[in-house]
């Protein structure tokens, strides 16, 4: 490489830091959505870099479905304490108790979709004008279409057919009262970039990403963790396997990968060899061809 050249990870990092600083400068009340998954962990790491030695100048917001892996919650609490960051938590259970969201029924019931209600309520309550998310364009075909600065109307909706042009790296965060932006600082990262970056930067992750023994069951070809509130269908049985999470989301829609990978290097090799996408194991995307687009229009992450 030439003298004045940086590798792809450093270029992506510089771009993301630029976007995060732009949010802090252009908005009055931004938050960063934090799920405890690797993408939001990387995004938060980039935010720390953007403002160091000052603290991150906005709060994190976690929408807790009540169906999270305990490891994720512990990891979150530790990280916040170590870095002195404020994390606001809002609960899907509260939205259900207030009658704003209705629990799905049946064996495939998931609170994943209900999160949108809690999220939009939280953004309104906190008077948030920009919410940063760890969505990446390589994850899903509707995300592949989204801008860095994604405008939302007063109902929190996305209009994919009429997005604002976004030229160079000049971001237009101007909006009318009641509207807000979703901003995706790591839009251009792939799953592989995220893992390589975690490796390069030595970022600590929840243990769920590494191999461990767990009681799991197989549903429609996907290995799932059985939480107490979940029911097995006839024919499904619990077995112990060596598994790890490729993505971490709500328990009801996070598929587990059979894997013995216990270092980041192992994981990078596994990701390089895999023939399915990371969301292939997410039942929330399998519901229909445009499941993600439909959820995003309503205001999902």
């Amino acid at each position: 490489m030439d003298k004045y050249q940086i590798n792809h990870l450093r270029e992506l990092e510089a771009e993301s830091i630029f976007v995060i600083r732009e949010v802090a400068a252009q908005f009055e009340n931004p938050v960063m959505l934090f799920s405890g998954g690797k993408d939001s962990i990387v995004m938060f790491h980039l935010a720390r870099k953007a403002f160091y030695p000052a603290k991150v100048p906005f709060a994190l917001l976690h929408i807790d479905t009540g169906h999270n892996f305990q490891e994720t919650l512990d990891y979150r609490d530790n990280l916040m304490e170590e870095t002195g960051t404020k994390c606001i938590v809002r609960y899907v259970q509260d939205s259900i108790d207030q009658g704003k969201a209705v629990e799905e029924k049946g064996v495939n019931a998931s609170r994943n979709k209900l999160q949108t209600v809690t999220l939009l309520d939280a953004l309104e309550e906190l008077k948030t004008d920009a919410a940063m998310g760890g969505g990446r364009r390589d994850e899903e075909k509707a995300r592949a279409k989204e801008r860095f600065f994604s405008h939302r109307d007063e109902f929190g909706q996305w209009d994919p057919k009429n997005q604002r042009p976004e030229l160079w790296n000049i971001f237009n965060g101007r909006k009318n009262m009641g509207e807000h932006f979703r901003v995706f600082p790591i839009s251009n990262w792939t799953e592989m970039d995220v893992w390589q970056y975690i490796y390069m930067e030595n970022i600590e992750l929840p243990n769920l990403y590494f191999t461990h023994k767990r009681e799991v069951f197989n549903r429609d070809g996907v290995w799932m963790f059985k939480a107490p509130f979940m029911q097995l269908k006839p024919g499904e049985e619990l077995v112990e396997k060596d598994v790890r999470c490729r993505t971490i989301g709500d328990i009801t829609c996070t598929g587990l990968t059979l894997s013995k990978a216990d270092t980041i290097e192992d994981i990078i090799q596994e990701v390089a060899a895999t023939r399915t996408t990371e969301r292939g194991g997410r039942s929330d995307d399998k519901r229909s061809e445009s499941a993600m687009e439909d959820r995003k229009k309503e205001g999902y992450f």
Partner: protein, 423 residues
């Protein structure tokens, strides 16, 4: 920056965009490129197989890999840019697959504005069309340094060398009026994969490289301006903690050039001078930093500096002015209003401005200037003048893509109505 354990992580990033008229095969080409370089996952393939069947395609429609919105699949066209990613052992690629339809020109410009390479498709049966010209002209205005014209659907013209040569000479005819540094031509069939990743067996008259080979080998590091140090201040970092009580750093992304500790700096617009004290990057401090890195700079002296200001080297100043002459690409259904007021954004600076003149519009078909009809409508490209409420620190776009670009925003709707390139 030292990356102790980078090793195989050291790859170059190339951003490219597709362009060309509706149905010339842009999305199919990207699908083919991904498919033949084995960058499509099994579940993605299954999903597009099913979707192809549902919309009645006999074979798998590779365009569905990028045409992911419901409305796009229903209409069989691309509406907005789709970003796709793939890597070969040589490079990482960010692809922007843009729409060909004139109605969505602003989305094409969005995808093209950050590209190092533009692939412009031409349907071998139809040759050069108005949209081919418009996109070529936009690519040239955006100063995309490398343009690859792919003459596509060669399977439908019997892989005829004559057809290819005819289109090539038509393109040569108008490209002399453009300012593209590096132009290449490849005859392809996106549908069948000829000369995309693998060399065509049906066109042995073509001896040049395949498209992927070009993308892997085009030299791109010279595309950044390494000469003139420009540092638009994005954010002032002030921890005000016990550990860092007096720290005052300027966060930003180096737009161009390089800077070293100790370099004499001028702050614009105030004109105060100082020296670089430290260049900080998280817990590291750097001796030197360069575009496109994002860093935090501290100075020897206490100077009042805020977002929108610019740090430059004292012996290499940009042009400071309130009067701009620029080419704009107009995006909005509402025409440009002569003497109208808009918000202008330039790097991290924001101001208001007034349109003081429209010099000409481009006639896309002839690439000639039209000075008769000066009504600037959606998708028009025009040369205009602006008066800004405060001085901006600019370079010409041809010298500097970052300090030479602006956007105009409608004060009422907040929509981005134009992209501007300073002359």
């Amino acid at each position: 920056m030292s990356d102790k354990n980078s090793g195989y992580l050291d790859m170059e990033l190339l951003r490219f965009t597709t362009a060309g008229s509706v149905d010339d095969g842009k999305s199919t080409l990207i699908g083919r490129l991904l498919y033949d370089s084995k960058a499509i996952f099994e579940d993605q393939m299954e999903a597009i197989e099913k979707a192809s069947e549902r919309i009645g395609n006999e074979e798998v429609n590779l365009a569905l890999l990028t045409d992911g919105l419901r409305a796009e699949r229903e209409q069989g066209i691309t509406i907005d840019v789709a970003y796709r990613y793939f890597a070969t052992p040589k490079r990482k690629f960010i692809i922007a697959d843009t729409p060909g339809h004139i109605q969505y020109t602003r989305n094409m410009v969005t995808g093209a504005s950050t590209a190092n390479v533009a692939i412009i498709l031409v349907d071998a049966r139809h040759g050069v069309l108005e949209q081919t010209l418009r996109h070529s002209y936009i690519a040239s205005q955006l100063q995309i340094p490398h343009v690859i014209f792919c003459v596509n659907k060669m399977d439908l013209v019997d892989y005829s060398e004559e057809t290819f040569e005819k289109i090539k000479s038509d393109i040569d005819g108008f490209s002399s009026k453009l300012s593209v540094k590096d132009i290449r031509y490849v005859p392809i069939s996106a549908l069948n994969g000829d000369n995309v990743v693998d060399r065509s067996e049906k066109m042995d008259w073509y001896q040049g490289p395949t498209l992927l080979h070009l993308l892997e080998n085009i030299h791109i590091s010279s595309d950044i301006n390494h000469e003139d140090f420009r540092f638009p201040v994005q954010y002032v970092v002030r921890p005000q903690t016990a550990e860092f009580p007096d720290y005052r750093g300027y966060g930003g992304r180096i737009a161009s050039g390089a800077v070293k500790v100790g370099d004499p700096i001028t702050v614009l617009p105030s004109g105060f001078t100082s020296k670089v004290k430290t260049i900080d990057f998280f817990e590291d401090t750097l001796e030197e930093s360069f575009a496109p890195q994002s860093v935090t700079i501290t100075l020897e002296d206490e100077i009042d500096i805020s977002r929108g200001d610019m740090l430059v080297k004292s012996d290499d100043l940009p042009n400071t002015t309130q009067d701009l002459e620029l080419m704009v690409c107009w995006f909005n259904e509402r025409n440009l209003i002569p003497r109208g007021k808009y918000v202008i954004r330039h790097t991290s600076a924001e101001a208001r401005c007034m349109v003081t003149g429209v010099q000409h519009k481009m006639n896309i078909n002839t690439l000639e200037q039209n000075t008769e009809d000066l009504t600037v409508k959606m998708n028009d490209i025009a040369k205009i003048n602006l008066r800004v409420t405060k001085p901006l620190h600019i370079d010409s776009y041809s010298k500097n893509r970052i300090t030479g670009s602006v956007i105009l925003v409608d004060e009422g709707t907040n929509e981005t109505v134009a992209a501007g390139m300073i002359i």
